[in-house]
């Protein structure tokens, strides 16, 4: 079996993502959806519902009265926050473990995913983009491919590292060259098996902007920018370092200047304590 065949088999053996995700993403991206439509989808999954209520009632959210139902939680936190919280929980399940090949300890990829999702949402807000929830979720799950590619990266690390250091390959160009697939492509394959929308699959596949055309897709550019900001801040950076390509055209396209990125970094650094607290309760 080639590496690619083994990887495809591994994807098929992955634990499926909770069923609530797909209908939830559909309903939040529908501008006509009501709060009730959203809570109906969430309460269909009793495990997630119980988990969300426990988190919503933790000291972190400081609710004056305990939320007893998902409707209460939606009223008190706002539906947007509620949806983000569901996605945070789900991303924790799939990204929390360690990734030794990428030299990431347990929790590092998750923390990084949450941070980049919060930055992406902040930028999406700033640019007043629709689909903020799917941008948030795509940011949370964009590196899902790393969780499966990890073992292969570990085995082939020397070869990959050599291409990066001596041949000016980006880390994912080297992944592709040595293993036959990179973590973004693999992530897209996983998202497809999970029946994610074609748009979501596209963001995950292109979150490092491998094709020039993708520079002109705002959702992708925002996810990309937040990833670059996390790398610069050293968040979730493992053995791959910062060895990914920078595309200034993407920043120009969404109208984010160098100074804007510095301001986003300064703002986000003040929220890092909040992120730590959120990770503890989520």
């Amino acid at each position: 079996m080639t590496s690619l065949q083994v990887l495809i088999k591994e994807i098929k053996n992955l634990k499926p993502i909770p069923a609530v995700v797909i209908p939830l993403l559909d309903v939040v991206d529908d501008p006509n959806a009501s709060m009730q439509d959203i809570t109906k989808v969430i309460q269909y999954d009793p495990a997630i519902t119980a988990d969300i209520l426990r988190t919503a009632n933790s000291a972190f959210f400081g609710l004056k009265q305990p939320a007893e139902t998902i409707q209460d939680a939606a009223m008190m936190l706002g539906t947007n926050h509620l949806v983000d919280l569901v996605m945070l929980k789900i991303s924790a399940e799939v990204t929390k473990g360690p990734q030794k090949g990428y030299d990431l300890n347990a929790g590092a990829l998750w923390k990084y995913s949450v941070s980049s999702a919060l930055i992406a949402k902040q930028v999406a807000d700033q640019l007043d983009l629709p689909n903020k929830n799917s941008i948030f979720t795509a940011s949370l799950l964009k590196d899902i491919g790393k969780t499966v590619l990890d073992k292969f990266v570990q085995d082939a690390f020397e070869k990959i590292y050599n291409l990066v250091i001596n041949e000016n390959f980006s880390f994912m160009e080297a992944e592709k060259h040595i293993i036959g697939v990179n973590h973004a492509e693999l992530g897209a394959m996983i998202a497809k098996t999970w029946n994610f929308s074609p748009k979501m699959v596209k963001i995950i596949r292109n979150h490092h902007l491998t094709s020039e055309i993708m520079v002109r897709e705002k959702d992708i550019a925002v996810v990309y920018l937040s990833d670059c900001i996390c790398m610069m801040m050293g968040m979730g950076v493992g053995a791959d370092g910062l060895a990914y390509r920078f595309h200034q055209q993407a920043m120009d396209y969404i109208g984010i200047s160098a100074e804007d990125t510095l301001k986003i970094i300064a703002d986000f650094s003040c929220r890092m304590g909040e992120v730590e607290e959120l990770l503890k309760v989520a």
Binding site: D240, G241, L262, I265, A266
Partner: protein
């Protein structure tokens, strides 16, 4: 005791059982100062080159910026008795994303901001590990002044 210097943070110590460490620098700079005679060491992890972008944040957390954080580190080290002529300076971080040019290259700007301040004050660097695409972690033992550098993909070395 191990003291962790967070992002936009600083620690100074003259306790011989202390270790100071900062993780995952990315494009940020880790500035380490050690004075062997009085046995005092300090570490700053700043993120951005200039406080001009946000004076309010610089006021509440001077360690976020080079121009406010670096003087603060030197000041504290001197207050604990360090002499300028004896200090040893180590710099790590300032990494960049591939093809990150000009004003978007935060790592290089962070390093330039440091060099301007050090040059102006006649302070030279003992050793450094800056730039490139590597993520770095730095640790210092206060008693010995030993500095350990961990580079992504390469493991840890004592300098």
């Amino acid at each position: 005791m191990e003291h962790i210097v967070g992002v936009a943070d600083m620690k100074v110590s003259n306790r011989t059982d202390d270790t100071i460490v900062t993780y995952s620098l990315g494009s940020c700079i880790g500035l380490v100062i050690y004075e062997p005679q009085v046995v005092v060491g300090g570490m700053l992890h700043y993120m951005l080159p200039s406080s001009a972008i946000d004076a309010v944040k610089a006021e509440s957390n001077p360690f976020m910026f080079a121009d406010t954080g670096i003087p603060a580190l030197f000041k504290q080290i001197y207050e604990l008795g360090a002499e300028k002529s004896r200090i040893k300076v180590f710099v790590a971080g300032g990494a960049e994303i591939m093809d990150q040019e000009g004003i978007f290259n935060l790592g290089r700007q962070n390093y330039s901001a440091l060099m301007q301040i050090l040059t102006k004050n006649n302070v030279s660097i003992w050793k450094q590990a800056v730039g490139g695409y590597s993520n770095r972690t730095v640790k210092m033992e206060v008693a010995s002044g030993n500095i350990y550098l961990k580079t992504s993909g390469l493991g840890e070395v004592r300098l």
